[in-house]
């Protein structure tokens, strides 16, 4: 990774990405998580390098999908994707699929690392020191807590932007030049799909609380479902949505369906 290769103009854009990334959770919601935040942050790159309007719109669309990542390291994948989008705008080398696959494959592992570092380690250390001082009523407690957490968090956010971009510039370009980008895409696709499978179970907290009596014995529907397939409800919900997405039913219609069906199932006591 050689920072000298990054031009002044790119540096300026990367600084914009860094600042915008603070807003990544701005419109956080269960449907897209911080997907719109991701797009918002890398928008300067898309606007700068895509001259043809239809290509610019395509780039916007593929970067607005579901995305969830630890805020402090969110700039690392942003840097990588920014470098890919820039390359793509000039050469059209990467299709949407490879950009999406790489983006999705980074989300799970990076969030895992980010959460355990920042939530699990830095926050707990900072809180431990802060609590000790605050117990005696010292204002240093909360202040030190903020400093100890935010110095590494902001450093990671800042350097992550450039690190990700540098890696993208060097390795992903190289991968393309050697003709192995399709291989990389395939590998990223495997990683991405596996992580989606895991996220179906970890992010959709759907369970039924229905109990019923059969000849004096009380049965819990969730227990029975768990015996059939653990997590069958989150999996079915996703596959049903997926079925409609494949049928090209618009997202707003599917969402309306979720609201109506979800509320109905809840009212009759099934969920």
């Amino acid at each position: 990774m050689n920072n000298k290769q990054i031009s002044k103009e790119e540096k300026k854009l990367l600084n914009k990405v860094f600042w915008r990334s603070f807003l990544i959770y701005g419109s956080y919601n269960p449907m897209r998580a911080s997907g719109i935040g991701f797009l918002y942050a890398i928008m300067p790159f898309i606007n700068k390098y895509y001259i043809k309007e239809d290509e610019r719109i395509k780039a916007m669309q593929r970067n607005a999908e579901y995305y969830n990542i630890t805020s402090a390291i969110s700039t690392f994948p942003m840097g990588i994707i920014a470098s890919m989008e820039k390359e793509n705008s000039a050469t059209g080398k990467f299709d949407s699929y490879s950009i999406n696959a790489i983006k999705a494959s980074l989300m799970g592992p990076l969030s895992g690392i980010g959460d355990s570092f920042f939530w699990g380690t830095f926050r707990v250390i900072a809180a431990g020191i802060g609590i000790g001082l605050a117990e005696q009523g010292s204002i240093l407690g909360p202040l030190l807590f903020l400093l100890l957490y935010n110095i590494p968090a902001i450093a990671a956010r800042y350097y992550g932007t450039f690190l990700g971009y540098g890696l993208g510039e060097k390795y992903i370009k190289e991968a393309y030049e050697k003709g192995i980008i399709s291989t990389l895409t395939k590998a990223a696709g495997i990683l991405g799909i596996t992580m989606v499978g895991a996220m179906i179970y970890t992010t959709i907290g759907l369970q039924t609380g229905l109990k019923f009596n059969l000849s004096g014995m009380e049965y819990n529907l969730q227990d029975i479902l768990d015996q059939v397939l653990k997590g069958i409800l989150p999996l079915s919900a996703t596959m049903i949505c997926f079925f409609f997405v494949r049928k090209k039913v618009s997202a707003s219609k599917i969402m309306l369906g979720i609201i109506v069906v979800g509320a109905a199932l809840s009212l009759i006591g099934l969920l």
Binding site: Y28, I69, T70, P109, A134, L146, M239, F242, G262
Partner: protein, 264 residues
């Protein structure tokens, strides 16, 4: 009135720090309670309560943009009631409970509303209106925060018993329905993502990730590493295959040259 406004402001700051400032831990009890102490004129109690509440909520993570209502609202109201009523932290936290329930309800409502605005944002994107996307991103962050300002303001000016009666007035099944809907919504986001990654030949890996998470309850990192094993193995196989193909086509072109030679 002034106190209610200031506590509302702290709710706003806590919420906005999460949504609009990259989650710098300002929303944590250690900081929120200190600020409540500061504006209510008893800084030391605020700091001390922050310390004990931080310990209580240390395990509550609320990772990744999930609105931090429980620890944040609990800390702010717990501290505010403790200072305003001169009571201990346990009683104060109990007073904060109905407000906590109300804020969870409102959080789910906001989540469903904000999800239902996604098609509108997709419309902006389809027309290439990136300025509107930015405005939306900032606007929703501010609206989330403003809602928390209102909860803070009402909670203090009405008191916890009035909030309790508001909570009682919301039918339980409406609350439950909202929770269920916001639990299902990620399924749509993941389905759209899956659609973009869908390739028949690798689709079976969805099952691998799912089974590892559901049955083995593995942490994400472990699942990612297992997926990486398959990904790297496949990549090397793929590269070998490519080399093989290249060398074969090279031989083929040699042959064709020879054939041409003989044709002459």
């Amino acid at each position: 009135m002034k106190e209610a406004f200031l506590v509302g402001l702290i709710m706003f700051i806590g919420m906005f720090s999460d949504n609009g400032m990259g989650d710098p831990m300002i929303k944590r009890p250690l900081v929120m309670s200190m600020l409540v102490g500061l504006v209510l004129g008893d800084l030391e109690t605020g700091i001390k309560m922050g310390a004990s509440l931080e310990l209580v909520f240390l395990g509550v993570t609320g990772i990744g943009g999930t609105l931090p209502s429980d620890s944040m609202v609990g800390a702010i109201f717990g501290t505010a009631f403790a200072i305003l009523s001169n009571s201990g932290s346990e009683i104060a936290l109990a007073l904060a409970v109905p407000i906590g329930i109300l804020s969870v309800f409102i959080r789910n409502l906001l989540f469903v509303i904000s999800s239902s605005l996604m098609p509108m944002v997709d419309g902006f994107i389809e027309k290439g209106q990136d300025k509107k996307v930015s405005l939306f991103q900032i606007g929703v962050a501010l609206s989330y925060s403003l809602t928390y300002f209102v909860i803070g303001f009402l909670g203090i000016s009405l008191g916890s018993s009035a909030v309790q009666s508001i909570v009682d007035a919301i039918p339980q099944n409406v609350m439950d329905a909202l929770t269920v809907v916001s639990q299902i919504l990620p399924a749509l986001g993941l389905a759209i993502l899956l659609n973009m990654l869908w390739e028949k030949k690798i689709a079976v890996f969805l099952l691998l990730g799912f089974v590892l998470a559901a049955y083995l309850e593995m942490p994400v990192i472990a699942i990612a590493l297992i997926a990486a094993v398959f990904a790297i193995y496949t990549a090397f196989k793929d590269l070998d295959l490519k080399k093989d193909l290249e060398s074969r086509t090279a031989v083929n072109t040699d042959l064709s040259v020879e054939e041409e030679f003989f044709d002459e």
